[in-house]
């Protein structure tokens, strides 16, 4: 009787410890592809006493499907299940019309450690394209699966993968006293492993990853009488500090690619302008002086230019200025207003929020020919952020009355929604994961 009782309590205890207190982001694919490279990902063979919770094959298959560039063939159709190079019979894969084949092996080494290896083949050429081997703890298996996906993606498309990446985002939920609670969260870019970084009653905006993937700059409020301020927080240690000791309000932080400078919006004497902070020297340099609102600076990948939003010519539009200072040049001329621009990783386009008469939509601006390609429906889309390889754009939008995140491929054909079970989510920021 006592044994049963204690067993019950232990189960409850374990249940409570493994259930997350905050909501997890779930992804649904709203527009996929019927075409793509047919790829067979064979379930990885497992050898050991304790099978890990994570099935690498399923994570890889989901990653490749989400990219919209692959057709993952169903394992039920496989004629054989090789796990090592000597077991591969290419005829089996040509027969089911696979163009690429992925096989792998997981073996337990020690209590909580696993040896993982994979091989990627071109089926027609019967050639090994990629392979790798890891020894990791069970908590890193998801990350290994995403790295497998990255290897496959790059080998078959020529573009680096962005599966082993992270996103920061803000959630809002009303508590029992009807007060909005804000949380700054960090998760894998497929929504798993969500971690709370900050919780506060005050709004949180504009999370911005430092290039080292370890720190986040963000905007929040210290008290009822303080205006917006920028904080920088180490995601691993929780250590955080206010960026400036200025009297005016500060927001819109943007890190340069080398992490040495932060561009930001500062209001001294009520005028909103772009400044650059040299982080090491703690030195602020003013970049714009116009009495209009200048905000949302974003660095070009080579660090030479910044684009920013300004209403100096009436409605908000995108302007560009040299990081060394000088005159600002207006870039966008189409649309009622354009704001919140940032460069693609290759520096060739800008993604931004554009209003072409249909509310706020996400569009890509081609600086070469001044064209805007609208990628989303709107009417309340905001905060676009590129994946580190430039293939996808994540942004904030509304579904029904719920704030959700969405992702769209750069060509507009693949679409996904990332939503919370409860509460609003907004302000995504996509980072490459640095080790």
């Amino acid at each position: 009787m006592i044994k049963v009782f204690i067993a019950g309590m232990v189960t409850l205890l374990v249940g409570l410890l493994s259930a997350p207190t905050w909501a997890v982001l779930t992804i649904e694919i709203t527009e996929g592809q019927d075409t793509g490279i047919p790829i067979a990902v064979v379930p990885f063979h497992f050898q050991g006493q304790q099978r890990p919770n994570e099935e690498i094959r399923n994570i890889v298959s989901a990653d490749l499907y989400r990219s919209g560039r692959f057709l993952s063939l169903p394992p039920g159709d496989f004629l054989s299940r090789p796990s090592g190079p000597d077991q591969v019979r290419f005829k089996d894969w040509r027969l089911i019309k696979a163009e690429a084949l992925v096989i792998g092996h997981v073996s337990q080494v020690g209590d909580d450690h696993y040896d993982v290896s994979f091989y990627l083949y071109n089926v027609f050429k019967e050639k090994l394209l990629a392979g790798y081997r890891w020894t990791v703890g069970s908590s890193q298996l998801r990350q290994v699966a995403h790295q497998v996906s990255d290897y496959i993606y790059e080998a078959l498309t020529g573009i680096p993968g962005a599966f082993d990446t992270r996103i920061a985002y803000v959630t809002v939920e009303k508590d029992s006293s009807d007060i909005r609670q804000y949380q700054l969260m960090v998760a894998d870019s497929d929504g798993h492993n969500a971690q709370r970084i900050l919780r506060t009653n005050f709004p949180i905006l504009s999370p911005a990853w430092a290039p080292d993937g370890k720190r986040l700059a963000y905007v929040s409020f210290a008290s009822r009488t303080s205006g917006a301020m920028i904080w920088v927080q180490n995601v691993e240690t929780g250590e955080r500090r206010k960026l400036l000791q200025e009297k005016g309000t500060a927001s819109a932080p943007a890190w340069s690619a080398d992490g040495r400078r932060l561009a930001l919006r500062l209001s001294r004497d009520g005028n909103h302008d772009i400044y650059i902070l040299d982080v090491a020297a703690s030195r602020l340099t003013r970049l714009t002086t116009h009495p209009g609102i200048d905000t949302e600076p974003a660095w070009s990948p080579n660090g030479r230019y910044l684009v920013f939003t300004s209403d100096r010519s009436g409605r908000p539009h995108i302007f560009r200025i040299s990081a060394a200072g000088g005159p600002a040049e207006r870039l966008t001329r189409v649309g009622r207003e354009n704001a919140g621009a940032s460069y693609s990783p290759n520096g060739k386009h800008l993604v931004m929020v554009t209003n072409q008469g249909n509310g706020d939509q996400i569009g890509v601006f081609y600086t070469g020919n001044n064209e805007v390609k609208v990628l989303t429906d709107g009417p309340l889309d905001d905060s676009p952020t590129y994946s580190p390889n430039g293939a996808m754009i994540m942004y904030a939008t509304q579904r029904g009355n719920q704030g959700v995140l969405a992702a769209v491929s750069a060509d507009g054909r693949i679409k996904q929604i990332l939503r919370l079970h409860q509460g609003e989510v907004r302000e995504p920021a996509w980072s490459s994961r640095k080790q």
């Binding site: 006592i2 204690i6 309590m9 409850l12 205890l13 409570l16 410890l17 259930a19 997350p20 207190t21 909005r180 971690q195 709370r196 970084i197 900050l198 919780r199 506060t200 009653n201 005050f202 709004p203 905006l205 905007v219 409020f221 210290a222 008290s223 009822r224 009488t225 303080s226 205006g227 917006a228 180490n234 995601v235 691993e236 240690t237 929780g238 955080r240 309000t249 927001s251 819109a252 919006r265 209001s267 009520g270 909103h272 609102i293 905000t295 949302e296 939003t309 209403d311 409605r315 908000p316 704001a339 919140g340 706020d360 009417p379 309340l380 905001d382 905060s383 509304q398 009355n401 302000e427």
Partner: protein, 178 residues
């Protein structure tokens, strides 16, 4: 035997409760912002508003509140993408300016807001512009700069949640808080 059972039960329960509280991934570094508990640094003889920024009742010097009196109105509204004070807004702001100029011990916080259209950062700036427009009129009418604090929440603290003009017009506002 019974005592041991009770003890283990208590121990197990406390472990369960601790487990609930420490419900995060090992190695995660979560920060809880306790600055919500900081006292306002604005001296005030009125009630302080709660963190949701809702409008509180202002007690006038003779302890009556006349809603026809512009001093009883504590929110002013703006046109889209504008920080210009309408004649109605001006009337209300002037009444508060007179009150503040005539009561040097009083201080006010001006909270600027914007509707949800446009980007959050732009709206943060627009809200601050609106609060500053009120602060500028205050100053012109003799209110000491130290008696006023202008801040903005942009589109982050709407009072109306719908996605239409009737909601948006209620959100484009400055609140005068004592």
């Amino acid at each position: 035997m019974r005592r041991i059972f009770h003890f283990s039960l208590v121990l197990l329960l406390s472990v369960v409760l601790v487990g609930c509280a420490v419900n995060k991934k090992k190695g995660s570094a979560e920060v809880e912002d306790s600055s919500v508990n900081l006292q306002a640094d604005v001296t005030s003889s009125g009630l302080s508003s709660d963190d949701s920024g809702s409008v509180q009742v202002l007690t006038t010097t003779d302890n009556t509140l006349d809603l026809n009196d512009p001093l009883g109105t504590r929110v002013i509204y703006f046109e889209f993408d504008s920080n210009a004070l309408t004649p109605e807004a001006q009337r209300i702001v002037e009444a508060h300016a007179e009150y503040l100029a005539g009561n040097p011990g009083m201080a006010a916080v001006l909270e600027g807001h914007a509707d949800e259209r446009g980007t959050r950062e732009y709206n943060l700036a627009l809200g601050e512009r609106r609060a500053n427009a009120v602060a500028d009129l205050f100053q012109m009418m003799g209110v000491m700069p130290d008696a006023v604090r202008s801040i903005s929440y942009g589109e982050e603290r709407p009072v109306a949640m719908e996605h239409d003009e009737s909601a948006w017009s209620l959100n484009r506002r400055v609140e005068i808080l004592y």
